[in-house]
Amino acid sequence: MKYTKDHEWLRVEGDLVVVGITEHAATQLGDVVFVELPEPDTMVAEGDEVCVIESVKAASDILAPIDGEIVAVNGKLVDAPALVNEDPTGAAWFFKMRVDDLSVLDQFMDEDEYQDLIG
């Protein structure tokens, strides 16, 4: 698992990258009540706002961590946004991306580095 400074996690699954938000981010957001997902099969660039999360407190965006194509989204989150708080690093993945070269993930933090960031 890799981590971005925006508190997203990235996990390689076959030739795809699965993206979600960290437990730390979910806790900070508070109870999530609404999730808006991107359309599958869209090309996105690093930094694009691709998802919206609304908690009881506020709205926030999820940014595309890398350039690539969104090939799948987790429709369960639309019906059950609370999954983001219950299982942020498992069942509550947001989208899967296809990238040209998986080595692009090397730039991101590993677990220890991320723990240092939020510690």
């Binding site: 109870d31 009540v33 609404f34 808006e36 919206v52 609304e54 009881v56 407190k57 639309v78």
Partner: protein
């Protein structure tokens, strides 16, 4: 180095909030618990199911003491509000609104007739201005800020049993009754739509009193986050958001708070700041009205969301909005042109550049359960 942030004020119960795991944030100049470890959603639902204890000591408690008799005090206070003060019996509380000369709202408040004086609770962010205003406008009245008293709210269906165990006798009180029990002042009122009490306690006793309440079955500490979602579901206004100096009480749909005695044809018609506009709006209807808004989808429509008629004409704006945990849906309140304020009117709200359907709906969103 200069400190750019104004100094935050501290609640007397801050140590208790921290001990309970409260997440402390700045609010209205105070460091306040926005939530406890349970989080906003659970705290909200807990209050509706059992009982929630809120620390609202940031609010302004004020005694209005007459220099020349209660009758003169009541008349002087009536001259500041479109509200019947004379008709309020001893031991009873009422909702009031301080208005300005333009008919806008300077603050909303609760006032209580305590026989020898009036006890007033005002909003934290307005209290300095309110005290200055009342002092300047009522020379025959001593306006005395109450220092060194905490204000707690115990709300929810379990509130009566929990408070009765600590302060026997309160179960006999009805909605908007007020009692002085020793040095504790109790009102049967609140800001959640639930039955409950607001309790003013000398600061030195406050932590012990709060701990006694928290030890009662079903009582949990509740933060500001759930306080906001509870009052929104109850359709209650938040000053500075749903009402302010530009909104009149009639536009704000608070005409229930304007008793007959102060209206056209009443015994003491007019004679309050902004009477010309307020009486005109009562007679002719306001140009815009605060209404309940039910977004059709799941996306919350928050404060500032612009509202449009289905033909694209701008008709208003959301004044507060979010997610209602008990109704399990997004809810909002806002001001819309009177032509579009009828229940069931279908509007559009612009969220992140997209216009989404929203319907004018009845307030409150969640039924109230006051013990009248």
């Amino acid at each position: 180095m200069a400190d750019p942030e104004p100094e935050l004020l501290h609640l007397g119960l801050e140590a208790l909030h921290v001990a309970l795991g409260g997440k402390m944030v700045p609010f209205a100049g105070y460091l306040m618990p926005v939530q406890y470890p349970d989080g906003v959603l659970k705290e909200h639902l807990h209050t509706r199911a059992a009982a929630g204890l809120f620390d609202v000591s940031h609010m302004g408690q004020v005694i209005l003491r007459p220099k020349a008799g209660m009758a003169a005090l009541k008349l002087a206070f009536e001259a500041l509000m479109p509200v019947d003060v004379l008709g309020l019996a001893e031991g009873r509380q009422r909702y009031g609104l301080l208005t300005n000369d333009q008919g806008g709202i300077l603050d909303d408040l609760m006032f209580t007739n305590r026989g020898e004086h009036l006890y007033v609770v005002v909003n934290a962010a307005c209290k300095a201005a309110d005290i200055a205003h009342m002092t300047a406008m009522m020379p025959g009245v001593s306006v005395e800020p109450v220092a060194d008293r905490a204000l707690l709210a115990l709300q929810g269906p379990g509130a009566e049993a929990a408070l009765e165990a600590v302060l026997p006798g309160v179960a006999a009180m009805r909605f908007m009754d007020h009692r002085v029990i020793g040095d504790i002042w109790v009102s049967r009122s609140g800001y959640t739509g639930e039955d409950g009490f607001e309790i003013s306690v000398p600061e030195v006793q406050a932590e012990g009193f709060a701990r006694k309440l928290l030890a009662q079955p079903g009582v949990a500490p509740i933060g500001l986050g759930a306080r906001d979602s509870l009052r929104l579901e109850a359709g209650l206004c938040l000053y500075g958001h749903d009402i302010d100096t530009t909104t009149s009480p009639v536009e704000a749909n608070l005409t229930w708070a304007l008793q007959k005695a102060r209206r056209a044809g009443g015994a003491r018609e007019g004679g309050f700041p902004g009477a010309a506009r307020i009486l005109r709006e009562l007679a002719q209807g306001p140009e815009r009205l605060r209404v309940g808004l039910c977004p059709e989808g799941r996306a919350p429509m928050r404060e500032g969301v612009d509202l449009f008629a289905r033909d694209g004409t701008p008709v208003g704006r959301v004044s507060s909005g979010g997610f209602g945990p008990s109704v399990n849906a997004p809810i909002a309140m806002g001001y819309v042109a009177r032509s579009h304020a009828t229940l069931g009117t279908e509007l559009m709200g612009e969220v992140r550049g997209k216009r989404l359907p929203v319907t004018v709906c009845e307030l409150p969103f969640h039924p109230t359960s006051y013990q009248r």
